[in-house]
Amino acid sequence: MYVAVKGGEVAIQNSQALLAEMRRGDPALAELSGTQLHAQLRLAVDRVMTEGSLYDPQLAALALKQAAGDAVEAIFLLRAYRTTLPRFGYSVPLDTAHMRLWRRISATFKDLPGGQILGPTYDYTQRLLDFALLAGTPVPPAPRAPAPADALNTPGVLELLEREGLVETQPVPADDPEPIDLTREPLRFPAPRAARLQNLARADEGFLLALAYSSQRGYAHTHPFAAEVRFGSVELEVIPEELGFPVSIGDVELTECQMINQFSGSADQPPQFTRGYGLSFGHSERKAMAMSLVDRALRAPELGEAIEAPVQMEEFVLSHSDNLEASGFVQHLKLPHYVDFQSELELVRRMRAAGAPEAQQP
């Protein structure tokens, strides 16, 4: 029978069995647990939660295990789980000024209220492979500074500049509209900033990083300063209808970036600093910073800036930022295209037979 390229259910089942076997690897070695992944590969877990739009370290770790470490596949698993979950409502807006800080740095002020906290970072590690890790040496506990009395109240740097009117303020819109949920409603253009930010928060880190980088290399004129990058945990509160007051439902770890850009002013706005914002689950500074640069670049129409570079083009950025959409459509080329290809084959043969381009009508 001529069915070489056609496969059935048995092939699919066998493929899945083989995949499971290869995921497990050598059965003589101990199996990874989700807890181990969560505890020891926390940054991978954080990325899966951020782009998977679901704060659940255990499930993100499970997804990573099931995906054999492939971040995008793990994000797919988490999103497919999340999609049918009921929506109960919105939390009270997070107040990151009350973050329990692990890390907080500003590149704009040497010293500032609340201080600079270096915290856990790879930034100054000199990136030499640590062969001791192969043997599994115990790690001594890190020294900790005593927490200051007002540790849970560290307002953002930008509030200092706001008082002088040097940085744009971001008041809550008059009627405080409910945000668009892009997982329930299709994205429409032009998109409000809240919808853009949701899209960017879910966006592929690599895609945002490349776009942000392009904006620094002359494809859009931005002159950014990292006013503040902070990482820590924040209390999440909801107001149950029957109670009418906020109740804490737990803590989430977040990385937040406030990027400021000089702005020479326009007809109706004085020269001042404008903002770009980035937020991600867990500890993901690369993502949060890239997001803040792209957010600012996408504000070009609002600020009357010329749109010249890809990073400023809303439809281009927002339509291609989702790694599941991109991965699915790029890889759908693996699906059979016999019919389309046959049609093209027939066309190319006909055009070749016709010789000169204008020789023949169909």
């Binding site: 001529y2 069915v3 056609k6 496969g7 059935g8 259910e9 048995v10 092939a11 699919i12 797919f76 999103r79 497919a80 999340r82 999609t83 049918t84 009921p86 997982t183 329930r184 409603e185 299709p186 994205l187 429409r188 253009f189 032009p190 439809e315 339509s319 599941l324 959409e325 991965s327 699915g328 459509f329 790029v330 890889q331 759908h332 699906l335 059979p336 295209h337 016999y338 019919v339 389309d340 046959q342 049609s343 093209e344 084959l345 027939e346 066309l347 055009m351 016709a354 381009p357 204008e358 020789a359 023949q360 009508q361 169909p362």
Partner: protein
């Protein structure tokens, strides 16, 4: 090998009927109703993230899930065949999540989900053909900005498309589009028929079946109600025409069907076989008369 010969798939009791929750299905059905009321118009909808990848039929799957009932019989084809891996996988998905009856028989199916083909056997009233659509916007390659194409549709301003077709004629002597060939629906909206070969376009015109189109990644739904006019774009002096083959199907002898080309050895020998596996199998079993059920024009 057909689906019927394979081991039965057990209904998974942990998921809702046809996977999607009922509110989501209702949202999709509302979009479908609007789409049926405005034939060929793309209706934005809150496309959900499905457990299958974007680009692999998530739009068609959501439409099928929204209209599927427990008594329905489902047929799923990819490239015209019931036994290609993706068709098997989507059929399994609905067996597993909805426990419905499935068939490979075009005449017995209530709902047919398809990628890239319309069955050769003419459809009848009451049947629903669900197309998987990768790119719902027919002008996407001419104008990638949705904000612009929306205006062009609103104004029925299709000059861009006609210029493209004209340029083909100027350059090649004929229109060099062989699949996803644009159509004008009900005299109003230019629509992508999904990447079916233009060979299938005439089957859409005044079809007794309801035709629904789902684009999951692009979050659009559109429809062609039964007995609606669907005209392939053309010019008076360059009328629309479909592909023809010099050979007949090597397995069933059909001369009226879309033929796939199979390379049968490493010397480049080839044979032509029906892309519609059920049509071919039925003809081989002698159950169909040799008269063309419908000719390409």
């Amino acid at each position: 090998m057909t689906a019927a010969q394979q081991a039965p798939v057990v209904r998974d009791p942990h998921v809702n009927f046809a996977y999607l929750d009922e509110r989501t299905k209702r949202m999709i059905r509302r979009a479908l109703l609007k789409a049926v009321c405005i034939p060929g118009h793309q209706v934005p909808f809150g496309s959900r993230e499905m457990p299958l990848p974007y680009g692999w039929g998530t739009g068609g799957i959501q439409v099928t899930a929204a209209i599927l009932g427990p008594a329905d019989t489902l047929k799923v084809i990819d490239q015209g065949a019931d036994d290609t891996v993706n068709a098997v996988n989507i059929r399994r998905f609905f067996q597993r999540t909805a426990g419905i009856a499935v068939t490979t028989d075009t005449t017995r199916a209530d709902i047919i989900q398809t990628r890239h083909r319309i069955p050769e056997t003419p459809l009848r009233e009451g049947q629903i053909l669900v197309y998987q659509v990768p790119a719902p916007e027919p002008m996407q390659r001419l104008e990638p900005r949705r904000s612009e194409t929306r205006k062009l549709h609103g104004l029925a301003e299709y000059g861009l498309m006609h210029v493209k077709l004209y340029e083909d004629i100027a350059r090649y002597g004929h229109i060099a589009t062989t699949y996803d060939y644009p159509v004008l629906v009900n005299g109003r909206y230019v629509m992508s028929p999904s990447p079916i070969p233009k060979f299938d376009n005439p089957k859409m015109h005044r079809s007794p079946a309801l035709q629904l189109f789902g684009a999951g990644r692009e979050k659009r739904i559109y429809a062609v109600p039964p007995y609606t006019s669907v005209a392939s774009l053309a010019f008076d002096d360059h009328p629309f025409s479909v592909q023809r083959w010099e050979s007949a199907c090597a397995l069933c002898g059909a001369t009226d069907s879309f033929l796939d080309e199979w390379i049968t050895d490493d010397q480049g020998a080839r044979m032509f076989v029906c892309s519609d596996s059920h049509y071919c199998a039925t003809r081989q079993a002698g159950a169909v008369s040799t008269e063309p059920s419908h000719g390409p024009e």
